[in-house]
Symmetry: D3
Subunit: 313 residues, 6 copies
């Protein structure tokens, strides 16, 4: 099995069933370093649904991407790292907790086989399942969360503990996130309650708001993230609403006033020395990304940068 | 409180927060004969989500409708029947069974107060909750189901008993539907399994496929529906995928080859002598109905005809 | 100046600034039999605006059409009738009455020069201006109105006498429509007031509802229209909401349950022996016709059939 | 009557008919400090119509917003300021001057009762009506105008004095704007005539172009605005085309090259010590904001910041 | 390798990379009876491009379809016929003739291995390549063409012989179509030149216009098609513009006034006793099919019926 | 013939068939200094087609622009430079090389008559044809290329030498570009092959990546461009994918992470002392620019700045 993507100078990108970046489909996990896995659930979404269609929407735009990353020395990422597209986890629409269990099972299989999972959400509730799966192999994880919302509320409608708004409180409670090495980046906008400001801090997270991020400067922030997570296996979760709605309109809960795509990619490209053991890109809602699908393209580009970060490990 | 809609010759339709047909909002149930109630859940949807936004999408297009129904003698429907918009039931995204319980509670309040509930879905799973609520007051119900799918499968993903594909098996099992007075109209298209053909018949339903419907003729079918349900309180559920996707593109699970809007409305306008104690219009997915929102307009028009059918009781 | 359209077998349709059917632009009126004129006003619209963009939207799709009409003996319409695109009348947004005056002036210039004007609306209020202009040359007109609404209300918001809902009462009052030779075809749907049913009849119009139209049969109706208007110069106004929203989604005030495109075109192609002195196609709202623009294509096709009807005079 | 918004952690945002930020609907003005009022007119628009649908489009996205504003000390805005949604003013489509009169009447009722009106346009012509209404209570107003165009032309088509392009010349002529304490911010792009550059200056306004704004720096500009308007009751009008089309695509007359959403919100959040007696957000054209509705979300976010500015007064 | 589609009652349809009807991907041709093959070229399109994205757009909606066909005795089509998805042929954008050569090569491999190819276009020029490939194995073919245009022009722009408008003249000239057993169904609309009417007849085709089709009646037409093609291996080509734009908006060259989806499917389901050796569905232009993708759904449904026709052979 | 655009204060912009900026259509070339020419080809596009519709899409939004350019001293551009809209070159869909020949012929006629051609693409392959035409009059050209991709690959699919990805290698090989005075600005994103980095440098171009552009600063870069091209007739080609997809979603091959519209326009407005003999704006794909058409507006604004740059020569 070739482990290189199909060459888009030889056959047009639009030919064939699209896998992520035209990578081969995984027929077994043997010999692989990493795998793409779709997590097509929107059962945890409090606002716009549709993230169940996100994995294939990201794949469809990822065919635009090419294998050489000039921001990390011009390496061919897929010569360094053997990556395949492992398809999607199964889900149970309308049954969030069963869905999380199924996602955990699918991701656990990858992690146990020594692969780094790269998840394509799905709403942000799926990250809890991934964290459970990856922590089972690697122990408590340093979380690097790019997001405009902290997602550390205690419960949502009818007191339910699971939703896209609660995973990073649950993860601390379950001992699978080590908040003392974790950092949340990009918070902004209006809040539900006065103690929203402090709830992440109270859990032990470091919080860098969008305003603070620009005050600190992106290169300094990149270094700071490495320092914060040093010595820990890290999981990076990228909620697309981190980015301003102008550049990422197709998300579940857009929040006006974020960084643009250039700033976002510059930050990710400046990251170094992260012991990345898992990552995801979540919250794409393809129905709100029509017709140009620029959010899906950005999601694919972010994912490609995260794979390059891992290849650079 | 006025019980008549705002007059769209006096103030433009687009002025003000839209209620169904510009009816007054219900501040109490007293003195009302019927109420509109939104059921904004898509937790039961196996394919396209978004029906949580359907109640307000239907309201937004219902402002096109006027109170006089020329197909039932030119009556002013709202002089006959005092109707208000009762807002939406609460729901619990990602928790289908809790959602059904909350919907049942909300609809039960209407039925117990003697009102006829007119529900705006929501995916088709919500109808089970409505049937439970209405049957609690009226006893086992004659079901009149317009739909391209029978929705009588036993279970869906992971063996779950509740979804948009199962309510009309559950309703029979729970004794709230009397299948011997019930009828399913409009089935068509490909099937999952050989016994799909017989599963509704085995439960006791009469089934009229789309092809059979046109062979029988619409006026004869209308008479037949009245005969089938005679002597029973009836609940009419209208799944918008009954209609061809050309006229109803914005649905959860479109099925090519259905009747058009004119045929659909002709059939509904020909219905008479139904002891209607509840009704709903379900499965609108507004994100797939842009920009012209013709499915929402049709949904509103169908609902107005069902209210007129009730006013004509 | 050539009077034939550009040949779309020789240069692709999408080349060049689009005129109606790729006809030449009128540089003078001399030698012309008829002219296309855009009437880009939506100041009379009670619901969806945007008809100001309709003339160019119709032109953009009209490039699909070819000059030979096989439904009238395979004639090359533009060898029979010298037609040019005369551009658009000027309008005054926000000032409906001044807008009507400017439209009247522009159309009057065509009619006085002996041309048959073919207007592309604009909301339906523009037809009053056209009728005034054409009647100035031809005297009281037989009106042939395809429409789902009668547009014969007395006044709209704040008692204003001019709007898309009133022109065919005003036209009778002003003596420019002869209602005894006029006919309204396609009325359907809910009504504002009990006397809506009778208001057109009281003015002297014949009214054929959508239901009546199908009962009568389309060929019989075509003959009946000719008989009704016999002996009078006729103006044919085609409101696109005559057609079902499935086939004409991009209109100001869609009304569910109309004829489809095939039925509509069959009726128009069956018309004969009409002394057509003017016509228009109105109420396209292009923003609601995206992305396929099927309403604009239908509008252009209807207009081409009306020109062929005139060529066949 | 509760004066707090519905809690979106308790019931999902998409439940119920949407008012601005899920605030209560005003049943009387008593006890209120401020009110939201929709101004659904596009009769003054020289280009894209559709702003008549803007008030409800802004409401629909405003449900994303939460009551705590972390940019002004974490205050719960609605504990400081009692605000309700007062519905929409009536309008007369096609009759701009009558429309302005009806809007003035509606806003005057709020101002006279001591409330600060927060208007949701509507094209920019509606601001003249608001200024008339508010000045009747407060006297000549300091205008703070965010806009890419000055809107100080003398007349538009056919010499008409009223349109979205003229209100801020009319306001000075009528003595309801005090230009010596007023400021226009954000002008850019091509111009109609050489004296366009000077026309606002000649009227007495201070003008800060987009380029000048960034040269000055946003914090300095915020201070400057306060100084310019000091000692005067101020009306702030926010035309969404101030923002770059990437972040605000859904406007009447987009102008390339403006600030992004982050810069825009930073400027508004830096404003202090303004004696705000009225404000509006105008020129949203929802049909051009599909499907993600990011302009409506930004409009709602801007409005929430303006209410917070007033609460901070 | 399983030859049955993934069961959509067990795992949700939206899970996994979509193949046609969730069929297995072909890893070899051995043991297969038929194969789906995408033909992603729009280099022959004279109007709307985008058909290069059609194969994956059809796959994406085909996941709605289920394996049991109730219109042919309730057979499980894929128990009768072993079918796999063979991916896409390669193409050379901007070089139509090289593209046709590459398509021919890909389809020839299927036909030579004894498989029936089911092609998903692509614009209609691709059918010439398929005919060449299939005729190489089966000899001159009976063509069954559903289309609103005859596509028998001699040449297009600059005298070029290949385009979506010429394949069925070329096929006769090349001796790969036997016109005396061939039939074109659905022609309608305006024409380029007077001899357009006769050009297909002159080549030897039978032509059934849309009007003639309804006069004859659909069951009679189905029988007639079988009689016309009797004794010959048949290739069925389905141009989606055969259908009215209301039901098939997303096509290259829409033509108002065609049959609806129900009539179309009824005709295909009535076909029997055709010796089908190849088929295609062409001319989908997905960018014009948003957001509901009803044309892609119809395309997939038509293809499923054609596979069932072959299974019923 | 007037050489000034129609005044949009006198007649609304939306009236009349749209030419670029409402300029007169060229009836002859005499007396003109420059001409707009549409180049409606997408036969060279390796990804999204649709650029054939770009010239008219740019015209449709260009009506927003006004003749006075305040960034170059408030000049009325069209009093300095007599410009007309020369319509579109003919093209041969599916035959890229013949298309390039037809475009070259059309542009050569302008250049030979002493006009500066301003081309509206079309995909980027059209620039090669323009360069051939302009170099025939002016000799080897200094190329100023704004683009996120270098477009200097040797060949694309099946070894073909012509495509949107190859023109700037071909131009050097043909001797019509002088690379030693040429500059490529804006490259970014992932690459096909390790030597992608060096291929433009090897050809002799100067390359300024997006990152380098911001490090250098926009005013310095503008000066540097003038210095690099000094002494040579210059052709400026603007590929809209230079801009970030947030501001230019409607392009053939979007690339995340570019400059925004304000930065882009600032750079163009800072350009001076360029001996501009031709220019184009390419790669708009209007189907992906709906509904707000902000890419088309930006394309028109860029073109207006390029005309102003020429007027300032």
């Amino acid at each position: 099995m070739s482990v290189l993507p199909t060459d888009s100078l030889a056959t047009p990108r639009f030919c064939g069933v699209p896998t992520f970046m035209r990578l081969p489909q995984a027929t077994s996990l043997e010999g692989l370093d990493a795998a793409i896995i779709g997590l097509p659930s929107d059962s945890g979404a409090p606002f716009r649904t549709g993230a169940r269609f996100a994995p294939n929407a990201v794949r469809a735009m990822s065919i635009m991407l090419r294998p050489i990353n000039p921001y990390r020395g011009g390496i061919n990422v897929f010569e360094r790292l053997r990556v395949a597209d492992a398809g999607d986890a199964a889900v149970v629409p309308g049954y969030l907790e069963e869905t999380l269990a199924q996602i955990e099972t699918a991701v656990r299989a990858l992690a146990q086989a020594g692969l780094t999972p790269f998840g394509i959400g799905g709403d942000h509730s799926v990250t809890l399942a991934e964290l459970r799966a990856v922590a089972a192999t690697h122990g408590p994880l340093a979380l690097i969360q790019f997001d405009s919302h902290s997602d550390t509320w205690d419960s949502y409608f009818a007191g339910k503990k699971y939703s896209a708004g609660t995973p990073f409180r649950r993860g601390v409670e379950e001992g699978i996130i080590d908040p003392s090495h974790s950092i949340q980046i990009g918070m902004r906008g209006s809040l539900f309650a006065p103690d929203d400001v402090s709830q992440s801090l109270d859990l032990g997270y470091e919080v860098v708001t969008t305003d603070a991020m620009f005050e600190m400067g992106l290169p300094a922030l990149a270094q700071h993230i490495a320092a914060r997570t040093a010595g820990r296996p890290a999981f990076l979760t990228f909620d697309l609403d981190f980015v301003d709605p102008a550049a990422a309109p197709g998300v579940q809960t857009p929040e006006s006033g974020g960084p643009n795509a250039r700033e976002t990619l510059a930050l990710l490209r400046a990251l170094k020395d992260i012991n990345l053991v898992g990552a995801d890109v979540v919250e794409l809602s393809p129905g709100f990304d029509q017709p140009a699908q620029i959010t899906a393209l950005l999601a694919a580009t972010v994912m490609a940068e995260l794979i390059a970060l891992r290849a650079d490990r």
